[in-house]
C-alpha cells in the first residue's frame, strides 16, 4: 500500500476492557472552557501557530524575543493588532482570548519564551 496512509485498526483484540473504557467516553462531563485560562503556549498553538509558525509563513513570525526595554511597546503593538486586526490579520475578541490570556501570551511572546514552542499541530504528526 505504498503511498496510501493506512490508519491503525481501531479494534483492540483481547483488550475488551480497554474498548469498554473507550465507550465510557460518551459519559464524560462537558468540557467548559469559558472559565479556564489557557497557558500561553496552548493559546499560541490553538490560535496563532496555524498562520504564524515559520513553516506556515502566512503571517509574520511573532515568537522572536525583543530586548527587554522594548517589551512594553511591542506588547502594545501585539495587543492592538490582536484586538483590532490589521489587513489580513483577523481581530480576536475577548470572547476568543480573554484579557488575562492575552496579557500572558504577550509576555511569553516578547520575552522569547515561545521561541521554540511546538508549532506542529497534533494533526501533522504521523498517526
Amino acid at each position: 500500500m505504498q503511498n496510501t496512509t493506512t490508519v491503525p485498526s481501531r479494534h483492540l483484540p483481547s483488550r475488551t476492557l480497554g474498548a469498554l473504557a473507550l465507550a465510557g467516553a460518551l459519559l464524560l462531563p462537558p468540557v467548559a472552557h469559558a472559565s479556564e485560562a489557557r497557558e500561553p503556549s496552548e493559546a499560541y498553538r490553538q490560535v496563532c501557530a496555524h498562520c504564524h509558525a515559520p513553516d506556515k509563513a502566512v503571517g509574520p513570525e511573532i515568537t522572536i524575543a525583543f530586548p527587554e526595554a522594548a517589551w512594553e511597546a511591542r506588547g502594545n503593538y501585539i495587543r492592538n493588532t490582536v484586538r483590532h486586526g490589521r489587513a489580513a490579520m483577523p481581530a480576536f475578541r475577548a470572547a476568543k482570548i480573554s484579557d488575562p490570556e492575552l496579557e500572558a501570551l504577550i509576555q511569553a511572546l516578547v520575552s522569547g519564551e515561545l521561541d521554540d514552542a511546538p508549532v506542529a499541530d497534533a494533526s501533522n504528526s504521523e498517526e
Binding site: 500500500m1 505504498q2 503511498n3 496510501t4 496512509t5 493506512t6 490508519v7 485498526s9 481501531r10 473507550l22 465507550a23 467516553a25 460518551l26 464524560l28 462537558p30 468540557v31 467548559a32 472552557h33 469559558a34 490553538q46 490560535v47 496555524h50 498562520c51 506556515k56 509563513a57 502566512v58 503571517g59 484586538r83 483590532h84 486586526g85 490589521r86 489587513a87 489580513a88 490579520m89 483577523p90 481581530a91 480576536f92 475578541r93 475577548a94 470572547a95 476568543k96 499541530d121 497534533a122 494533526s123 501533522n124
Partner: protein
C-alpha cells in the same frame, strides 16, 4: 464624551437602551456586557467592501447559558433592542464578527463553548455554538476517539455550529455540512426554547441520530435566517477510515475545465470519489503561498503571460483537482484504477498521489490535511496575494456540467477583468452541484480600490443572476441584493415567517435580506 456621539440601536431611545443595559448586566454580570469602544473594536473589523461606519455595534453580550439567552431575548423584546448573533465570528469574507448594521447589539455566543456529548459508537456530537473545530479536534485526540471532523478552510478558529448554520462546506465525504447536522436547540424570539427533530421528546436517545422528528421538518428555518438562536446543535462525525489516499490531477489548458467536470461528475455521483473535491485555478493554488507582485505589479488583472510563468515556476496546472479515496486499502486500489482510467482516457491529465504529489508542492500538503479534517489555516495565505486585507467570497452555484462551468468561468473572468481584479477561484464539487467560489481579493486600505471591489461584486451578482446563476451565501454588505435575485414572492414568505416568529424584529435584522 458627548452623548450625541454614542451609538444607539436604530429606533431605540437612550433611556430605553440604558434600561436594557442594566437588565443585561443583571442577567450576565457586568463583565459580560461590553460597551466601551476598545472592547467593541474587535467586532468592527471587516474584510468586505463596505463602509466601516456601517458596521459598528452599540454593545456586545457574552452569555454562557441558554437560560441567559432566553432572558436577553425577553429584554430585547421589552425595549425593542435588535441583536446580531455570532458564534465564533470567523466567516471572514462573509462579514466576520461585525453586526449587520450599525447600532445592533452583538450577541456573541463564543463563550457558550461546551462539548456536551461525543458518542464514538454512533459517531455523533452535541455542541454549543462557541465550540471551535480546534477545540473539538483536541477533545477527540485527547480521548483517542477514531473520528474525523469536516472543517472549512479557516478550520482551527471557526466552529461547526456557525459554519453549519451558514450552510458552509468542507472537504471530506461529509463536506455538505447541513446534511450532517442532526437536532437543534433553539431560543425563539419570544424567549421559549424548542428542540427540533427527536429533541422534543423528554429523555430522547435519538436526538442526534434521526434528523426528521415528527411533523414539518424545521431545522432549515434556522440556517441563514433570523428566526431563532441556535444554542445547541447535533452533528454527525465521520469514522476514521482504515486507509486514506489524497491525490491531485493537473490539467494545463483553460478550456480543460469542461473535461474535468464531465469526467468527475459520474465518479462523484456514484461515490467512487466520495469527498467534496475541489478544482482549483492556478491563482488560488499559487496564491496560498505566492505573492502577486513577484509576477506582476500592474493594478489591472494579472495577464495570461504571468499566469503561465506561475504555472511553470510552481509546477502547477491551470486547473488542479484535489480529491481523495477512503476505505480499506483494497477498496482504495479498486477505486484508484477507476479514477486512473476515467481521467487517463484523453491523455491530458497528470494524475499524482503519494511521493510524487508531495514533491510537487503547491497546495497538496494543506489540501491533504483538509480532506482528512485536520486543522489548517494555510488558505489564509490568499490574503497576502494582493495584500491590504480585502476579501469577498463570490459563490454562485453551478450544476456539475462542463459546459456550464466553462460559461461561469468566462463570465467571472470577464467581469473581474473589467474592474482590474484577478480570478482567484475554485470549484467545490458537491454531489451534483458545485460551489464556484471566487475570492475577490483587493486592497482595503485603498478607498478607490475598495469602491471598485464593491461595484465589481454588485455586477457579478446581477450578471450571474441574469444567466440563472444564484449565490449560495453572501456577505452582509450584499445580503439585500442577493435576496432580490431570488424573487419577491420568496422574500414575502421569508417576511411572513419573520413576522410570525419575531414580531418585534429583534433577531439579526437584515440577515439574508430578511426584515419585518
Amino acid at each position: 464624551m458627548s452623548t450625541t456621539q454614542r451609538i444607539l440601536p436604530k429606533g431605540v431611545s437612550e433611556a430605553d437602551f440604558d434600561a436594557a443595559l442594566v437588565r443585561f448586566r443583571e442577567i450576565l454580570g457586568a463583565d459580560s456586557v461590553l460597551t466601551e469602544s476598545d472592547q467593541l473594536a474587535a467586532y468592527s473589523k471587516i474584510m468586505m467592501a463596505g463602509d466601516d461606519a456601517d458596521y459598528i455595534p452599540s454593545a456586545a453580550l457574552l452569555p454562557t447559558t441558554t437560560e441567559q439567552v432566553q432572558e436577553i431575548v425577553r429584554t430585547c423584546n421589552q425595549y425593542k433592542v435588535p441583536i446580531w448573533t455570532i458564534s465564533t465570528g470567523k466567516n471572514l469574507g462573509y462579514g466576520s464578527a461585525a453586526p449587520g448594521e450599525t447600532g445592533q447589539v452583538m450577541l456573541d455566543l463564543h463563550r457558550m463553548n461546551r462539548i456536551l456529548d461525543v458518542d464514538p459508537d454512533v459517531c455523533t456530537a452535541l455542541l454549543e455554538p462557541g465550540v471551535t473545530y480546534q477545540q473539538l479536534y483536541d477533545y477527540i485526540k485527547e480521548h483517542d476517539l477514531k473520528l474525523w471532523l469536516d472543517p472549512p478552510a479557516p478550520s482551527a478558529i471557526a466552529g461547526p455550529v456557525g459554519n453549519t448554520l451558514d450552510r458552509g462546506v468542507g472537504y471530506t465525504p461529509y463536506g455538505e455540512h447541513f446534511m450532517f447536522q442532526c437536532g437543534m436547540e433553539v431560543v425563539l424570539a419570544n424567549g421559549e426554547v424548542i428542540r427540533t427533530g427527536m429533541g422534543g421528546i423528554e429523555n430522547s436517545s435519538s436526538w442526534q441520530v434521526f434528523k426528521w422528528g415528527y411533523g414539518p421538518y424545521i431545522d432549515g428555518l434556522f440556517t441563514q435566517s433570523n428566526y431563532g438562536i441556535v444554542t445547541k446543535m447535533g452533528l454527525w462525525l465521520m469514522p476514521e477510515p482504515p486507509a486514506y489516499r489524497p491525490f491531485i490531477i493537473q490539467y494545463q489548458d483553460p478550456e480543460d475545465i469542461e473535461e474535468i467536470v464531465d469526467v468527475l461528475r459520474p465518479l462523484r455521483i456514484a461515490q467512487i470519489i466520495p469527498n467534496a473535491v475541489v478544482i482549483v485555478h492556478t491563482l488560488w493554488d499559487a496564491g496560498t503561498h505566492v505573492v502577486r507582485k513577484d509576477y506582476y505589479e500592474g493594478s489591472d488583472s494579472i495577464p495570461r503571460e504571468a499566469i503561465e510563468r506561475i504555472k511553470a515556476d510552481e509546477g502547477i496546472g491551470e486547473w488542479n483537482v484535489y480529491a481523495a479515496l477512503y476505505g480499506t486499502p483494497e477498496q482504495i486500489e479498486v477505486n484508484w484504477k477507476i479514477v486512473e482510467q476515467a481521467f487517463g482516457a484523453s491523455g491530458k491529465a497528470k494524475i499524482m498521489h503519494g511521493e510524487e504529489a508531495e514533491k510537487r508542492g503547491g497546495g497538496f500538503e494543506y489540501r491533504s490535511a483538509l480532506m482528512k479534517g485536520d486543522m489548517n489555516l494555510q488558505e489564509f495565505g490568499l490574503y497576502n496575494w494582493r495584500g491590504g486585507g480585502g476579501s469577498m467570497w463570490f459563490a454562485p452555484v453551478s450544476q456539475a456540467k462542463g459546459s456550464e462551468t466553462k460559461d461561469q468561468t468566462e463570465l467571472a473572468q470577464q467581469i473581474l477583468g473589467k474592474y482590474g481584479f484577478d480570478y482567484v477561484a475554485e470549484y467545490i464539487v458537491g454531489w451534483r452541484d458545485m460551489h464556484h467560489v471566487i475570492d475577490l481579493l483587493y486592497n482595503r486600505q485603498d478607498p478607490e480600490e475598495t469602491q471598485r471591489a464593491h461595484d465589481c461584486f454588485a455586477e457579478l451578482i446581477d450578471e450571474f443572476a441574469k444567466r440563472g446563476y444564484g449565490l449560495y451565501r453572501t456577505n452582509t454588505e450584499f445580503m439585500e441584493q442577493v435576496a432580490g435575485t431570488f424573487g419577491e414572492p420568496l422574500r414575502e414568505v421569508h417576511k411572513t415567517l419573520k413576522n410570525a416568529l419575531d414580531p418585534n424584529g429583534i433577531l439579526s435584522p437584515g440577515k439574508s435580506g430578511i426584515r419585518q
